[in-house]
């Protein structure tokens, strides 16, 4: 045995070493080609796929044509975690990628220097026009404050470049069924008699199922209630874990939410709301006789109506804004979300890309592609739905983020599941809230 090896050895080793060297040479050659540190390449991570990715490529085309800078896009739905690992390990980061949503992460990445200010990327002139042209709620912290990690503002500096936005908490209806005027208050909404409108069965439709993220549509509904019922201050403090779930304001929010999903108000009863996927929740709007009058959902749902039922925005269906909860001082609170980019490597190419994405020309391409609002106020929309959504975004006093998305992830999961549980069994409300307090106490600590 040993002799065989001995005879084989010298040749094998020579061959092996040769292969290794070759492999090493190839692999280093291969990786440098993908890095964006040069002035003609920029690497971008995004969570977009499908049509959204296609729209993004369309947005980038004029940029590449004009500057010759190649944009290497990677669809990465786990980018925050991977970037966090990259920062911890000191490995390569993408040049441009979405910033983190967790406020503590935003602060920590800024202090570590991983996030580069948008001010430097855009230069002072363009930065000023960016602030002037973008929806104020996306760039301006509440008056007198220098921080709002939810929109990426730390110590007065901006770390998110806002590019797209959506408005949540809209009530969608079939124009052929609901012919009345939009109710001004939530009480007026609940007082409607659905059978007067084409024999509809219930006031609301709902669908809370969304695979592993089930419950988020319900959380949008309660968020829109709480921010208008108890105000942005309590709402934001609650997200940050400074207001308990058993607090009367939050409990009132849950109780009001339950009015939207009780057996008599929601189509098919609570089990139907729990079992129905959010994307199909609005289908009964278009059945005959209609299952319900309204579905509460964000702007994006228009695409699903069109896809599922072949109906057209503006002619077949429309929406009205969330009615007042009876507190006029909080009527300017609007629930929305946004897409943003942060700069992780301050290269000339990355700066140029962000400068381009902040322009009206770039964002108009997104607006034309449909399915979203841009972040700039003065874009034009062909779609009547987005034209009106833009008005709502523009009129917003505070554009408030969705609560669950900005809670620690275990809090988020417990929050979403609590909404499913109280929908299933409203009698469990108090025990659910007490349990959420326990989760809250454990989630906001580091142990």
């Amino acid at each position: 045995m040993a002799e065989v090896f001995a005879r084989l050895s010298s040749r094998a080793i020579a061959l092996g070493l040769g292969t290794l060297l070759l492999v090493a040479a190839c692999s280093t050659g291969g990786t440098t080609g993908n890095q964006g540190a040069s002035s003609t390449d920029v690497t971008v991570w995004t969570a977009w796929g499908g049509d959204e990715l296609k729209a993004f490529r369309d947005v980038l085309k004029p940029f590449t044509d004009k500057t010759g800078i190649k944009v290497h896009i990677t669809t990465n739905r786990d980018s925050t975690n991977q970037i966090a690992n990259g920062i911890a390990a000191g490995t390569d980061l993408p040049d441009v990628a979405p910033g983190p949503t967790d406020p503590t992460q935003v602060k920590s990445w800024v202090s570590k220097g991983a996030l580069k200010p948008i001010e430097t990327a855009l230069g002072s002139d363009q930065f000023k026009s960016y602030i002037d042209n973008t929806y104020p709620a996306l760039t301006t912290p509440p008056s007198g404050q220098s921080d709002n990690p939810y929109i990426g503002v730390i110590n007065g500096k901006h770390y998110f470049l806002m590019v797209k936005t959506q408005v949540k908490g809209l009530f969608w209806y079939n124009k052929k069924v609901f012919t009345g005027t939009a109710p001004k208050t939530f009480d007026e909404l609940l007082a409607l008699n659905p059978s007067q409108y084409g024999g509809a069965k219930n006031i609301f439709c709902a669908g809370f199922e969304s695979g592993a993220a089930s419950g988020w549509p319900a959380s949008d509904q309660i968020d829109n209630i709480i921010m208008r019922q108890s105000g942005d201050q309590i709402y934001t403090n609650w997200i940050q874990g400074k207001v308990k779930f058993t607090d009367p304001a939050i409990k009132l929010g849950y109780q009001t939410f339950l009015k939207e999903v009780s057996g008599s108000t929601v189509f098919g009863g609570s089990n139907t709301a729990l079992s129905t996927n959010f994307a199909k929740a609005g289908d009964p709007l278009f059945n005959s006789p209609p299952g319900c009058l309204f579905l509460e959902q964000a702007t994006f749902i228009a695409n699903f109506f069109h896809q599922n039922k072949g109906v057209t925005a503006g002619t077949d269906f429309d929406f009205f804004a969330h009615p007042s909860m009876g507190k006029t001082e909080f009527d300017g609170n609007v629930n929305g979300f946004y897409d943003q980019f942060s700069m992780y490597n301050d290269t000339p190419a990355a700066r140029q890309l962000l400068q381009y994405l902040a322009t009206k020309d770039a964002q108009q391409i997104w607006a034309n592609a449909g399915g979203t609002l841009g972040a700039i106020k003065t874009l034009t929309y062909n779609d009547p739905i987005y034209k009106r959504a833009a008005e709502i975004a523009n009129g917003a006093k505070n554009l408030l983020v969705t609560a669950g998305d900005f809670m620690p992830s275990d809090m988020q999961k417990a929050f979403w599941q609590s909404l499913l549980n109280v929908t299933r069994d409203p009698g469990s409300l108090d025990s659910q809230l007490k349990h959420l307090d326990q989760v809250q106490a454990a989630a906001y600590t580091t142990s």
């Binding site: 001995a6 050895s9 080793i13 291969g30 990786t31 089930s214 139907t272 992830s409 580091t446």
Partner: protein, 321 residues
């Protein structure tokens, strides 16, 4: 391109390095006196395997135990706080209860069904056909099986056409649809049922193979002595199958304890269906590494006795040969 190079490195370079280690090492050892050669050679050959096991199994194990006593930032010792959390927090207690349900019902039903089916099919002519039918779910990945069953359990508003097979069926006898995965009396049972459906075929095949190994002479002798078929199954076949049943059973217990995919895909732990493994995963997801490690350690401690039983069983079988 990069992936191909990485694969090439793994397939070509790693064995080459190992080959180089053996060739060069053997040369050195051959130069030693004979007695020393005999003493050193086994360790020399076993070293790479021990090295791999240390790096990829023992080190992570030790590290997990250490992490379970530290905070999520890994910056401070916090004693048994993570374990206290695991054994006192309502969510983790629910997952512990559910894992126990899985352990009892998933294991017993799948093994008993496997045994009964194997014995029954042993006595019919269309055996292989029936076996194929029962084995069919085994190669389906748990995720695909979960999605299939999600459709089966589907629920639509009462009074509208039911797209879920089960609700359509009970609708034909005029029963209201049941929200199988939401209703707390049915949801855990529904999930465990899916688990049993995917694994019964496996239990059956293993038990059936060992059943075929029982010589017909033994059975004939029993019949000659006047035993009826029930007595034969109870007093002759089952004891002879016992070693196999233990191995299948312990494997199923381990499966039950580490159940993850079915729960994750079908409910993600909503409506009180979490199990230990999904709990560990969500702790990881929420960056509570200490708590996740504590769950892992508890799970490991629960599985160790079963591993010991299994290894003993293997050793006994080795000795019998």
């Amino acid at each position: 391109m990069d992936q191909i190079i990485t694969a090439a490195v793994a397939v070509v370079a790693v064995p080459l390095v190992l080959l180089g280690y053996i060739v060069l090492g053997e040369r050195v050892i051959e130069a030693l006196p004979d007695r020393l050669q005999v003493a050193i050679r086994p360790y020399f050959w076993a070293l790479p395997a021990i090295g791999f096991a240390t790096i990829f199994m023992i080190y992570p194990l030790v590290r997990t135990v250490i992490i379970s006593f530290r905070n999520s930032e890994d910056s401070d010792w916090i004693g048994f706080a993570n374990y206290k959390y695991f054994f006192t927090f309502p969510d983790t207690l629910t997952s512990l209860r559910n894992s126990l349900l899985w352990l009892i019902f998933y294991t017993s039903i799948s093994v008993i069904l496997g045994l009964v089916i194997a014995i029954l099919l042993d006595r019919v002519r269309y055996e292989s056909l029936a076996k194929i039918a029962i084995f069919l779910p085994v190669p389906i990945s748990a995720v695909a099986a979960s999605i299939i069953w999600k459709f089966m359990f589907d629920y639509q508003a009462p009074g509208t056409p039911q797209t879920g097979t089960l609700n359509a069926l009970i609708g034909t006898i005029g029963h209201e649809p049941v929200a199988w995965l939401i209703n707390s009396t049915t949801n855990n049972a529904a999930l465990i049922f899916v688990g049993i459906w995917t694994v019964t075929g496996f239990c059956m095949v293993i038990i059936s193979a060992s059943l075929k190994a029982i010589s017909t002479e033994v059975l004939e002798a029993a019949r000659m002595d006047g035993a009826n078929e029930f007595q034969i199954v109870r007093l002759v076949v089952t004891p002879l199958l016992w070693p196999t049943i233990t191995v299948v059973g312990t494997t199923m217990i381990i499966n039950a304890l580490k159940t993850f995919d079915i729960v994750y895909v079908m409910t993600n732990g909503a409506y009180d269906t979490d199990v230990i493994a999904t709990q560990m995963f969500s702790q990881l997801q929420h960056s509570h590494y200490g708590r996740a490690a504590a769950v892992g350690v508890v799970l490991f401690i629960a599985i160790v006795p079963l591993l010991v039983v299994n290894i003993r069983r293997f050793q006994q079988q080795e000795e019998q040969r």
